[in-house]
Symmetry: C2
Subunit: 215 residues, 2 copies
């Protein structure tokens, strides 16, 4: 199992602010994500600008595509994204249309897991050739002050066993990393934790934990 | 029951193309929608430009918001949208956050019905004070050459009875309008059917049918 990568989620509402953060973190993150907020704020210009300024990073366009998949996918990959996201709530035909465009560009699809999804849905994604999904910590848990639940970890194991490499997000801190040992973790995603003043420290602490459990 | 309105969905991948269509149709549509494709292509600039050029139309921003609701809602309303869309797959807390921002701006929320949603979910939307939802024709039906199914119409009646006014979309043609008699129809949405050369004819035929059934 390859080691999980570190991903910065850029959800600034202005491109200059996002570019500033990207410049600050580029040496300690592997993946730069144009968050949905930034993509709606600035459009595909945000993707193409980050592509040009950070040619060696993996670039994700977080559209959470729900419909019009072929067109949205083409826009994202043409702007320079390597990976784009598709909502778990999209019709399977939409997910398939995105995958088809992804294949044209040698890009990848990540399923954004939201809503009332089932393991049957997940099998359908895998059957389409999709190899990645993004798992968010349960919001109810987060609001109730509860950490990652056993239910979360169990679902993540099952998705992992189906063949999906998971990008994991939701208030990720270095002390949480051990919870995900044995799960096929593609990346850990953070926003403010990496963008802020202690971003480099945080990234290094994450990498220390990653090396312990995916050594 | 007030008469259903006519809405143009702008899903062009460039703003100039969208502006050209909007200019062409403005006299025979009530609502201008910045489609998800246009919103991702050009960002909030698309919303603010259309707001300025069409000050008297209802303006919808079709974000299909799934997360980060408070920030996305604020961006849409600040750019000039009257209504914005939120995915049925969003956590109820996200939907609630969008509604809270909508109230600040005297704007409205429309739930984009996608994925594995239930009538319990719909009741929860209504409990939050949401009064609109967007119903898409079943894609499987459309691909199989089947029109609107009884299952669709039945779900639409139930949503209508719960208190949701439905914007109806999915290859809408004037000959379909009679199917929706008795349903609380907020608007009929079309893209190419209204944007093309016979757009005005189509709008007039839709209005004739609307007047027959919601006279």
């Amino acid at each position: 199992m390859t080691k999980p990568l570190i991903q910065i989620a850029l959800d600034q509402t202005s491109l200059p602010s996002a570019l500033e953060v990207a410049r600050r973190v580029e040496n300690f993150v592997d993946i730069i994500e144009v968050g949905t907020i930034l993509a709606f704020a600035d459009g595909m210009n945000a993707v193409s600008t980050l592509r040009q300024l950070h040619p060696d990073h993996i670039l994700v366009c977080d559209m959470k595509t729900t419909d019009g998949g072929a067109i949205l996918a083409r826009m994202a990959y043409e702007a320079g994204a390597d990976w784009m996201t598709v909502s778990a709530a999209a019709h399977i035909a939409t997910i398939g249309a995105c995958k088809k465009v992804a294949d044209e560009f040698n890009g990848e699809i990540q399923i954004e897991i939201y809503g009332n999804w089932t393991m049957e849905d997940a099998k359908a994604w895998v059957d389409l050739g999709i190899t990645q999904a993004i798992y968010h910590r349960s919001r109810d848990a987060e609001l109730a002050g509860v950490g990652w639940t056993e239910a979360d970890i169990e679902k993540m194991r099952q998705l992992s066993e189906l063949g999906l490499a998971l990008s994991i997000t939701g208030g990720i801190v270095p002390q949480d990393i051990h919870l995900f040992e044995g799960i096929k973790a593609k990346a850990f995603i953070a926003g403010r934790a990496l963008a802020g003043e202690t971003g480099q420290e945080t990234a290094e602490a994450l990498k220390t934990e990653i090396n312990r459990f995916w050594g």
